[in-house]
C-alpha cells in the first residue's frame, strides 16, 4: 500500500518518519443493500512530537476514522486502506498483537470519562493494571506509579483518590484520571476524542492546560479531535478539517485560522462563537444541511451549502491538493490566501 495519489501524499517532505501514516482509509457500512460511507479516502500523517487537530461536525467521520485506526469499530464495518504506526501496519493485525500496542505505545482518551472508567473498580487499581498488564509490573510498583501519575496530572489528595471509585470524582477529575491512565506506559501517541466536550468551560481550560503541560514534558504526539475549533486551535500545531468523511483542508493552525482556503473552513471560523468584537445583527451560520451518507457522492459534498459553488463543483469532486508549502485543500475555487 505504498503507491498513493500524489495529491494526498506526505505533508512532511523530509525529516524523521511520521509516527502515524494513514493512507487512503475508507470506512463503510452495509445497511439493507445500501452502503454508508463514513470515511472516504483519508490520508494523513502525524509527525513525531506533533499535535494534529481534527475538526469536523457530527457525522463528518472523525471518530469513525480514529476508531478504525485502533481496531475498535463494530464488526460490520468494512475498512480499507493503510494505517501505519511506527512503520507497523495496524489494519488486519490480530487482536493479541493490537492489544500489545493499544494502551501502551498508542493510547486513547475518550469523551465521557464516566463511561470509560470501570464503575466498580478503585481508581488506583484501574491505573495500576495498565502497568501490570502491559509492562509486567508488580502490583506494589504499579500502585506507586499510579500515585505518581495522579500527582503528575494534578489530582489533589492523590493518595486518597487511589482508593476511591469513579463516581466519587468530579467530571474534570475523572478526565484527569483518564489522561493519567493513557500516559501510564509512556505512549508515543495519544488520541484524544473530544476530551473536553462533556466538561464545563472552566474545567475544559484546566484539562487543555494539563494536556499542554504533558506534551511539553514528554514530547509525545497527540491527535486531538473536537467539533470545537477553539479547543483544537489552543493545542494543535496543524489542523485537518473533515466534511462528509473526507479531509477537505489541512494546514498549520495559524495559517488555517488566518487564511482558510476551503469555503467550509472559512464558514466554520466565522461560526465559531466569539466573546470579542461587536455584537452582530445575525449570528453566522451555514445554510442547509450536511449530505445524507446514504446518498451517492457526486461532485463536492459541500457544494449544496457553498457560497462559491459552480457547475463544476456539482459534477466533479475536487481532490485534496497541495497548495503553497504544507497546506492542502480540496476545492475547485479555494479562497485567496
Amino acid at each position: 500500500m505504498s503507491a498513493l495519489p500524489a495529491t494526498a501524499a506526505s505533508t512532511a517532505a523530509a525529516g524523521p518518519p511520521p509516527i502515524l501514516r494513514v493512507e487512503a482509509l475508507d470506512v463503510r457500512y452495509a445497511l439493507d443493500g445500501a452502503v454508508i460511507a463514513a470515511v472516504r479516502a483519508v490520508s494523513l500523517q502525524v509527525a513525531a512530537g506533533e499535535c494534529l487537530g481534527i475538526v469536523g461536525e457530527s457525522g463528518s467521520g472523525k471518530s469513525q476514522m480514529v476508531l478504525a485506526w485502533l481496531g475498535l469499530l463494530a464488526r460490520n464495518a468494512r475498512i480499507e486502506g493503510s494505517v501505519r504506526f511506527e512503520e507497523q501496519e495496524l489494519l488486519g493485525l490480530p487482536a493479541a498483537a493490537l492489544n500489545r500496542i493499544r494502551g501502551s505505545k498508542l493510547s486513547m482518551v475518550f469523551q465521557d470519562p464516566m463511561s470509560s472508567l470501570t464503575p466498580h473498580v478503585r481508581i488506583g487499581v484501574q491505573l495500576g493494571e495498565v502497568l501490570v498488564h502491559h509492562a509486567g509490573a508488580t502490583w506494589s510498583d504499579a500502585q506507586r506509579a499510579a500515585l505518581h501519575m495522579l500527582e503528575r496530572v494534578r489530582v489533589p489528595d492523590a493518595r486518597r483518590r487511589l482508593r476511591e471509585y469513579p463516581h466519587e470524582l468530579s467530571g474534570g477529575m475523572r478526565q484527569r484520571v483518564m489522561i493519567g491512565m493513557s500516559l501510564m506506559c509512556g505512549p508515543k501517541l495519544v488520541i484524544a476524542d473530544e476530551p473536553t466536550s462533556a466538561l464545563d468551560v472552566t474545567v475544559q481550560a484546566q484539562i487543555l492546560a494539563l494536556l499542554r503541560e504533558v506534551r511539553a514534558q514528554s514530547g509525545l504526539s497527540v491527535v486531538l479531535i473536537s467539533h470545537d475549533l477553539g479547543v483544537v486551535a489552543s493545542l494543535a500545531e496543524r489542523i485537518a478539517v473533515m466534511y462528509a468523511g473526507r479531509v477537505v483542508e489541512s494546514a498549520p493552525t495559524l495559517e488555517l485560522l488566518r487564511a482558510p482556503r476551503h469555503p467550509y473552513t472559512s464558514l466554520l471560523i466565522q461560526c465559531a462563537p466569539s466573546l470579542h468584537g461587536a455584537r452582530l445583527d445575525r449570528m453566522p451560520s451555514v445554510q442547509g444541511l450536511p449530505p445524507n451518507p446514504l446518498e451517492p457522492e457526486i461532485g463536492c459534498a459541500f457544494a449544496p451549502r457553498c457560497p462559491r459553488v459552480s457547475e463544476r463543483c456539482r459534477e466533479e469532486r475536487p481532490p485534496l491538493m497541495r497548495i503553497d508549502g504544507v497546506a492542502q485543500v480540496a476545492c475547485h475555487h479555494p479562497l485567496a490566501p
Binding site: G171, A205, D228, G230, A233, L257, P273, L289
Partner: protein
C-alpha cells in the same frame, strides 16, 4: 433599559430542594415583556432546575413566581392550566422532546386542542402551516415524523410546538447545545426573529457564552444555586464583577486569542 416598565415575570426568594439540599437558593429576578434574559452557569449550578420550577415541573420549597400578578406557585386546576399557555419551553435534546409516534402536524395540533378547543380543523391546519413557515419548514412536512428530520430541523419543530399557543414567555433550556456550530446560528437567528416579530420574552439558558451574548438584553450568572451576578449584556462581558463570571469568561477558548503570538493562556481555577 427595561427597568421602569411593568414586569412580565417576578421571581422572589425562590428555593428548590432535593432531599433537603438547595439546588436553587434564594433566587430573585424580573423579566420585562419582550425582554431576553440570558442565564449562564456551569452544569449543576441549577439553571435547568430554575426553569423547571417556573413551570412547576419540580416543586418549589419557598418563594413566589408572579406572572402578570398571578402567583404561579399557588395556582391550581383551571387557573394553572390557563397560565401554562403563557409559559412554554424549548428543551436541549430536540429529538427526545418530540413524541416519536406523533406526526409533526399532530405535535403542533396538540397545544391548539388543549388551549383553543373551539378552533375548527381548517383553521387549525392554517395555523400549523403558518407556524411551520415561520420556523423555516415547508408546510408539507406536517405529515412526517420526528425521526425523518435532522437535529436542527427537530429543534425548529420543538420551537414551533412551544410557540403554537402564542406564549408570552419562552423558556429556552440549552436550545442549541446539541447542534453543530454551523447549525447553531440558524436556530439562534430564528429565536431572535420570533422575539422581534412576536415580542415574546425569553429566558435563554446556555453554557455557551457567545450565544447568550448575541441574544440577550441582560444576563444572570448562576453558581451553586445562587445568582451571583446580573448585568446588562455589554456591561457583563466588558466588566464582569464576580470572580466566577471572570473565570467563566476567561475560560472560553477563542479563535482571536489563538491567533495571538504563542504564549501560555491564562487558566483560572475557581473551585467551590
Amino acid at each position: 433599559m427595561t427597568q421602569p416598565r411593568e414586569s412580565l415575570l417576578e421571581v422572589r426568594g425562590l428555593r428548590v430542594e432535593f432531599e433537603g439540599r438547595a439546588a436553587v437558593d434564594d433566587v430573585s429576578f424580573d423579566i420585562a415583556p419582550g425582554e431576553v434574559l440570558g442565564l449562564v452557569g456551569e452544569s449543576g449550578s441549577g439553571k435547568s432546575t430554575l426553569a423547571r420550577a417556573l413551570l412547576r415541573l419540580v416543586p418549589a420549597a419557598r418563594g413566589t413566581v408572579s406572572f402578570r400578578g398571578t402567583d404561579l406557585l399557588r395556582c391550581t386546576g383551571k387557573a394553572l392550566r390557563r397560565r401554562r399557555r403563557d409559559l412554554q419551553i424549548v428543551f436541549q435534546d430536540p429529538l427526545a422532546s418530540l413524541d416519536p409516534r406523533m406526526s409533526v402536524g399532530e405535535i403542533l395540533a396538540e397545544p391548539l386542542e388543549i388551549f383553543e378547543p373551539a378552533l375548527g380543523a381548517r383553521e387549525q391546519g392554517a395555523r400549523i402551516a403558518e407556524m411551520l413557515e415561520r420556523v423555516g419548514l415547508a408546510p408539507q412536512v406536517a405529515g412526517r415524523y420526528p425521526h425523518e428530520f435532522s437535529g436542527g430541523q427537530c429543534q425548529r419543530i420543538g420551537i414551533a410546538r412551544a410557540m403554537m399557543p402564542s406564549p408570552q414567555l419562552l423558556l429556552c433550556d440549552e436550545p442549541v447545545s446539541s447542534l453543530d456550530v454551523s447549525i447553531q446560528g440558524q436556530i439562534v437567528n430564528l429565536l431572535s426573529d420570533l422575539q422581534r416579530d412576536l415580542g415574546t420574552a425569553m429566558l435563554f439558558i446556555s453554557h455557551n457564552l457567545a450565544v447568550v451574548r448575541h441574544l440577550s438584553d441582560r444576563v444572570m450568572v448562576m453558581y451553586a444555586g445562587r445568582i451571583v451576578e446580573t448585568a446588562g449584556v455589554s456591561e457583563l462581558f466588558a466588566a464582569p464583577v464576580h470572580a466566577y463570571t471572570r473565570a467563566l469568561l476567561a475560560a472560553v477558548p477563542d479563535l482571536s486569542t489563538a491567533l495571538c503570538p504563542p504564549g501560555e493562556p491564562l487558566v483560572y481555577s475557581y473551585e467551590r
